[in-house]
Every structure is written in C-alpha cells, then in structure tokens.
C-alpha cells in the first residue's frame, strides 16, 4: 500500500500522523494526479527538491475539491515523517520561501507547543510575499508573517485542522519559554524613553489637583450608573405594559370564542361533554361557513323552528346546572380556564409563525435580510 504511513513513524497526538488531515481531503489527495505522479516513493531528500519547486501555498480548491501541491507535500511529510533536523532546516533556510512555509506548516501540525513557539516565532520577521490559492482557485497575496500568525492563532488553515496549541502565557509561567521579544521592541524603547520624559513634565503640572478630579470621576460614574438603572426600569415597565395589553386582547378574543362554543354545545347536548369532538366540530363549522351561508336562505324556515327548540334546551340546561353540586362546577370552570389558555396561545401563533421568527433571528445573526412572505 503506497499510502500507508511508514512503520517506524511515531504517533502524533495519539494517532497515525496522516489522520491529522481529514479523511475526505486525504482521499482527495490520494486520488490527485500530483500525488500519484510526483509524490510516489519520495524520501526526505527527494522531498527537498519537490518543496523547492512549490510556487504557492493553499488548501483545496475548485468545485470538485482538488488539493494543492502544498497540501499534498504536507501529507507526504506526515506519511514519511522526516527527522526533526530536516524540518528545522526547512524552516531556517532563507532562500526558498515556500520550503520555509511547508516546514512551518508541518512543524505546526506535529510539533509540541514549545517547539512551535521556538521555531515559528522568529519567522514573524520575514516579510516576504507569498502566493496563496483560495477555495475558488484564485490567487491571493499573503505575507510570511501573516501566514505564521494565522498558523499560531487560527484553528484551521489550508483546510487542515490545526492541533491545539498551549497558550503562550501558560508556557511562560511554567518557565518553558522566554517571553517573546518583538523586533519592534527597540524602536518602541526609544520612543518610550522620549514620551516618558514628556509625561513626567506633564505629571508635574497635573499633580496638584488630584483629589477633586478623582471625586468628580466617581460622581460621574455614579451618575451614569443611576441613569442606566432608570433606563432599565423604564424599559421593564414598558414591556410589562405591552404584555398586559396583549393579555387583554387575548382575553376578549377567547371570550368571544367561548360564547360561540357555548351556543354550539347547547345545540347538541349529548356531545357537549366530549370537548375534543366539539372543538373539532367548531373548526369544521368554520370551514363550512361559506357553504352554509349559501344554503342558509333555504334552511331559514327550518332553522327558526330549531332555534325555539334550542332555547328550550338551554333553559333546561341552566336549570340542570343550578342543581349540579358546587364541586363539579368548579372543576368544569378549571377546565374551561385551561381551554382558554390554550386558545390564547393559538391566537398568538396565528399572529407570527414562530418558525419564521426563528428563521429570521438566525438570518439576522448571519447578516442576511429577513424572509419575505
């Protein structure tokens, strides 16, 4: 198997080093022409020649995911695992910037945090331009220090997930690395000494009235705090008012609906206990309303007669209710109340579909315009 990792390879991050490149991209690389033609039977020495021929860096590109030679060579390095000296030589060489980039990328993948900081940070002083092929296959201009910075900071680069890096600060506290000295430090020091002198002069002037200034600062802070609290309170009040209004609206609507149900129930007394069916009936009645309106004129005579009957029934019903024990009635009242609650919820759904509201919230987060109806 040509794509197998060499036997004596040390496992990196607890697995086969080749697994640092994701499966899908890895198989894409194995399938690519560059891998088959150029990377076959490469050794660490031959690798140097190939690395010198590199013209750009990049991950995968194009619609039908093609890997760049840079990525293929990185995978090859993971496969044959060249010695550390060779990688360090890659990074230290001055003449070939893409060799250096390849070495740095490989070091970032397999090195320990200390090694990575030790070998990559000096490259911050390399300002050479490099070509970078983006996802669409177009070229972008990048600088070496830019590249190194994204290696040290980002979680994925060139479509490879970069392993976790320990925080620099933690390593410094454990005395494993020295604090970083930037190349800009010298310039800054010069400027600092100048500005310090100036500041000293200024400080001498402003030293006389410190207590008043501090007090005024405190005061202003308190003032701001108070203002903020007030604003919050006001907003809260407004919100609660809104809520109240909504509730009222709901209540009135549900009362209406209730009345209609009452009428419905009285029309067919036998089924009135079966709440679900009655509600269903309610809905179907809505649906049929238009048809019914048409046929109303025909039924008119019939209806009048029925209404009389209805009234009779209602009276009887009321009487029954009075006779009913108090407990029963209260129970029914509870049930009615819960029904009312359900109704109110339904009406709010009708106002704004929560699915659409959710989708819009998501779109807002992604920076897209809201959905149009």
């Amino acid at each position: 198997m040509a794509n197998r990792t060499i036997k004596e390879a040390i496992s990196v991050k607890g697995t086969n080093p080749q697994y640092l490149v994701e499966k899908i991209i890895r198989t894409r690389i194995y399938d690519s022409k560059y891998w088959k033609e150029e990377c076959f039977a490469l050794t660490a020495e031959l690798m140097v020649d190939k690395a010198m021929e590199l013209r750009y860096i990049g991950g995968i590109f194009g619609g039908n995911v093609k890997p760049t030679p840079f990525l293929s060579l990185t995978l090859k390095m993971l496969q044959i695992q060249p010695e550390k000296d060779i990688v360090v030589e890659f990074i230290k060489n001055e003449d070939f910037k893409y060799v250096r980039a390849l070495g740095a990328f490989y070091m970032r993948l397999v090195g320990t945090s200390v090694e990575i900081f030790k070998y990559l940070e000096p490259l911050y002083n390399d300002y050479r331009k490099i070509r970078f092929q983006n996802k669409e296959g177009n070229f972008e201009l990048l600088y070496m220090d830019d590249f190194i910075d994204s290696l040290l900071r980002e979680e994925r680069f060139c479509d490879v997930i970069l392993p976790r890096l320990q925080k620099r600060q933690v390593l410094e506290e454990a005395n494993e690395i020295e604090p970083r000295v930037s190349a800009l430090e010298e310039d800054l020091e010069d400027e600092d000494s100048e500005s310090e002198e100036e500041e000293g002069e200024r400080k001498g002037d402003s030293l006389s009235p410190p207590p008043t200034s501090s007090r005024s600062k405190q005061d202003s802070e308190r003032e701001r705090e108070r203002a903020r609290r007030n604003r919050d309170k006001e907003r809260e009040r407004e919100r609660s008012r809104d809520r109240q209004r909504e509730r009222q609206r709901d209540r009135s609507r549900s009362r209406e609906r209730n009345r209609s149900r009452e009428r419905n129930r009285s029309r067919e007394r036998n089924r009135s206990r079966d709440r679900d069916r009655s509600r269903e009936r309610d809905r179907s009645r809505d649906r049929n309303r238009s048809r019914r309106q048409r046929s109303r004129s025909i039924e008119q005579g019939n209806r009048d007669h029925r209404r009389d009957q209805d009234r009779d029934r209602r009276d009887r019903k009321d009487r029954e209710r009075e006779r009913e024990p108090e407990r029963e009635r209260s129970k029914r009242g509870d049930r009615e109340k819960s029904n009312k609650k359900k109704d109110s919820k339904k009406s709010s759904i009708a106002e704004v579909d929560p699915e659409i509201a959710e989708a819009n919230a998501l779109r807002a987060k992604l920076g897209l315009a809201p959905l149009r109806p």
Partner: protein, 73 residues
C-alpha cells in the same frame, strides 16, 4: 420565501426557509446552522452539477420545495 430540502442520504435531512435572492453561500450558512457542520465543508449538488457559492438561488432556478443533494468536502 421558499423552502428547500437538503438530504445527504446518511441520516441528515434538513428543510431550510430562504429567499429566492439568497446566494448558495447564504443557503449553506443556513444549513450549517441547522446541522452543525461548517458551511465551508458543505457541497450542494443536483446530479453532477455542483452549485457555486456566489450564485443566487433564482439564477439556478431553485424553487419552493425542491430537493438538493448534500455532500461534504
């Protein structure tokens, strides 16, 4: 607003609401938000045509209720 179904036939099937003038890239971001995969890793296909990120749905004539194939890269 239109609703599009994306299926990877490996157990992920998502319905996404979007506008016809969204780009494929926007659609990918919406799918990514629902499935939890990175949007850069999503490939949308219909048969052998791969949809490109910068083109609008209406230009690809993607209509309401259409099915797209969801692949990964």
């Amino acid at each position: 607003m239109i609703e599009i179904t994306c299926n990877d036939r490996l157990g992920k099937k998502v319905r996404v609401k979007c506008n016809p003038d969204d780009t494929i890239g926007d659609l990918k971001k919406l799918i990514a938000a629902q499935t939890g995969t990175r949007w850069e890793k999503i490939v949308l296909k219909k048969w052998y045509t791969i949809y490109k990120d910068h083109i609008k749905l209406e230009d690809y004539e993607i209509h309401d209720g259409m099915n797209l194939e969801l692949y990964y890269q």
